[in-house]
């Protein structure tokens, strides 16, 4: 990366800071993508994630039946009409799983984005300004982190009524302290940089300093943890639904679908297995992608 920067600066013999930042960003992206492409597991993860997003978007078209349409044909074994069978109320399991992906994708992605949007500014402010602001924010984060994540999610769902929107809120809130800590750490490591002192001395506005120079340094850990967090969010959402604290029926959701037919598991195990497999494959995909991104963005590895 340094070589590329020097290559930009040296020939002209002038220091064009703005330009070198952009070139650096572009080349960083290229390097990252090249490294990512090399990892087979990351590419598999990416493929599954893209497939999942397509399935969630096109659920109405792809699902052979309505997910909430009850029929008298209950507990049918997997057959040509119903490839994954039907549940206790005669609803097609395949259609419910396809539609269930919508909830999982929505909750996973939106909760992660929302948590990032709220947590990053907190971490940046705490790390950049330091002093009592830093102390106040970090003590607040510590109190939140004193609760196990799942317990905190449960508590928030008890206070807010169980619903998809509130699950998103709960998962976003749970994510904030971890993200704030990570970002604050990154900011602290950059703040002492003389480069920042020089830019500050040039009387650039503080916001501009944060946006152009401090934030890009935090980008890598944010991207990696966000990708991995989508998987975690999906598992927590499914667990909340399993306990009856998440999205309410009859909306199809993988966690609740696994739970509601649990009593019939001896005779009809597939109804519990298929939603579970859906969760496993989805989370696995995001984890593989996140792992690949972590390796691709690791500055210690050579390109």
């Amino acid at each position: 990366m340094r070589n590329e920067m020097t290559a930009v600066v040296a020939p002209q013999g002038q220091v064009r800071r703005g330009e070198s930042d952009e070139v650096q960003a572009r080349s960083m992206l290229a390097v990252t993508l090249r490294r990512l492409r090399r990892s087979h597991t990351a590419m598999v993860g990416l493929a599954i994630v893209v497939l999942l997003l397509l399935v969630a978007a096109l659920a109405d078209v792809l699902a052979p039946y309505s997910p909430t349409q009850t029929t008298p044909n209950s507990m049918a074994e997997p057959n040509w009409n119903h490839p994954l069978g039907t549940d206790l109320l005669g609803r097609d399991v395949l259609s419910r799983i396809i539609h269930g992906s919508r909830i999982s994708v929505y909750v996973g992605v939106v909760a992660t984005l929302l948590g990032t949007l709220l947590g990053v500014p907190l971490g940046v402010v705490a790390g950049f300004y330091g002093g009592w602001i830093d102390n106040l924010i970090m003590r607040l984060m510590d109190v939140l982190l004193a609760f196990p994540i799942f317990l905190l999610a449960i508590v928030i769902m008890v206070i807010l009524a169980p619903s998809t929107t509130n699950v998103v809120l709960a998962l976003a809130i749970v994510r904030i302290p971890i993200l704030a800590r990570i970002v604050r750490g990154s900011v602290l490591s950059v703040r002492e940089n003389e480069y920042i002192e020089a830019v500050k001395a040039l009387a650039l506005s503080q916001v501009r300093v944060l946006w152009r120079h401090v934030l890009p340094n935090c980008l890598a850990p944010i991207i990696v943890t966000s990708t991995l967090n989508v998987g975690t969010a999906i598992i927590i959402e499914a667990s909340l639904s399993f306990l009856g604290l998440g999205t309410q029926p009859p909306t199809p959701t993988w966690g609740w679908d696994l739970k509601q037919n649990l009593t019939l598991i001896e005779i009809h195990p597939w109804i519990t297995i298929f939603p579970g497999l859906a969760i496993l494959v989805t989370v696995l995909a995001f984890n593989l992608l996140g792992d690949g991104l972590r390796d691709a963005l690791d500055p210690r590895l050579k390109a």
Partner: protein
Amino acid sequence: MKEYILRRLVLLVPTVLGVTLLVFLMMRFIPGDPVSLLLGDYYTPEAAAVIHQQYGLDRPLHMQYVLWLKQVISGNWGYSIIAKRPILSDLARRLPITLELVILSMAFALLIAIPAGIIAALRPNSWHDYGAMTTAMIGVSIPEFFLGVLLILMFALAWDVLPAVGYVPLTQSASENLRHMVLPAVTLGLGRAALLTRLIRASMMEVIRLDYVTTARAKGVREWLVVLKHALKNALIPTVTVLGLQIGFLIGGAIVVESVFSVPGVGSFGITAIAMRDYPQVQAFVLLVALAFVLMNLLVDILYGFLDPRIKYDQPAS
């Protein structure tokens, strides 16, 4: 070392106070009149007056918190609406069961993760390595309740070697107790084992490359001694730093696992309380679990102090 422990204990106080404050406020955030929340279907004007006086509901909020905190410290953790008896006795009865589950799970996780991680690190890119890493990857991606259901399908329903649900107290029969705890502990432990295997492998691979390990080998120290005595001790330090977070996941997972396997511990107590809207029970449940987590983090911090000599010797001269 003593100063380190003392400092940790002192830092514990604001954390515990923060936790109690949040739990107290949590009950206030639940929509609805606090008195009817506390009494549920057993609302009568007389009972309401008692509650009003006991919790000081006409006083300012911070006074209510102090009153509530005093009660908690003196052992009054509220009355269950449904069961109509003090909550603390129920919790005290269930706590050892959950503790047994958590300890067994952690033991199982370490039993799997340490050898698997070491072997994977010593034979990188072998089938041991790929096998361990693939299993670990699946282990961190599978939700606990699904894994529990799969294990029930295999061991309880298909092969009928272990019971699916229920609990037998240790005092009644140790063997039956263990038979009933195997599936829940394995379910809970496998997820942690997966993550710990990846961690141990990564840190072992770093430590093995260090000069002091090469020196030990050159000195003729036997390989197993090099690995176990010299490398592993240092490789475990990063593992211990994330142990606190892992315990958090373990506690959260225990809530779900107790639900799947009908283990009569603190977790299933909390879930039932939430379903029945027994808010005094819910509050006591949240308080207990949060405080237990804080305490476990403290123990992990102290353990870390013992493992990492830099902490011991880094004390400022008094």
